[in-house]
Amino acid sequence: MNLAKLQEKLLAAARLDRPSDAVPYAFEQRIMARLSRVAQESADLWTVWSRLLWRAAAPCLGLTVVLVGLAALSGALQGTPLTLGEGLETTVYAVLTEPAD
């Protein structure tokens, strides 16, 4: 069998077979309906996301207040340096001062 000739024949057959450009009835309306649904879905996603964020904000704030309160009660905040300079100094010299303790 001459494969090169067969390939050539089959490609020629494919060239002759032009696909139809027929469009189903009211297809553009289907596209437009799908587009409005897609736009609505993406808008809905943002709404859901923002609602979740707002809902999460209150518990986060509450948790922060509780943790600060607990820390204050347990004395964890006692001895905290008053200024940033003091804090930095304490941290930098912490390694040097530890053996002496």
Binding site: M1, A14, E28, I31
Partner: protein, 198 residues
Amino acid sequence: MRANCGLVERNDEELVAAVCRGDTASFEALVRKYQPRIFATARRYARRESEVEDIVQEVFIKAYQKLDTFRGDAPFEHWLMRLAVRTCYDFLRVHQRNREHAFSELSEPEQDWLERFVQDPDRAPEDAEAARALVKRLLDMLSPKARLVITLLEIEERPVKEIAALTGWSVSLVKVRAFRARAEMRKCLKKLQREQYL
């Protein structure tokens, strides 16, 4: 072209600009104008009509979502065709069915056509339904890259430069892939020869 209201004629660039400004209805005019071309393109790669419709729908939804990336350097039609070809290529990659489809399941008219070809290649008509069925079978067996390049280069007879623009591949890559695609096609035909005549 006629806009959807039927009173004012607007060209593609004006319609695109209107859609980008939020006038979604203007997009319908673009869909109506280009859907026959997109349908014809999709029918080259998908057999079932439901798949063709899915491809066309995806092309237009992608076009709508990416419309702000259309800079207007080239005609809107070229931009849309690039999107269509890439969507068809993605479709081929996802639906790689039938690639192992053997030629042993040929229908009777297909076998008759091949018999006629073996006896006298010039007597096998190219416009026969059996030849069309055989070439569809052969294209189904190719890898997505090979099928895409064979369709654009050999069947639609587009120039290499245009294929490069449509696919986003470089000109040299198109040439390399065309060479490999022809070899892949020849390999499939050898398989046919082995299955039918050995």
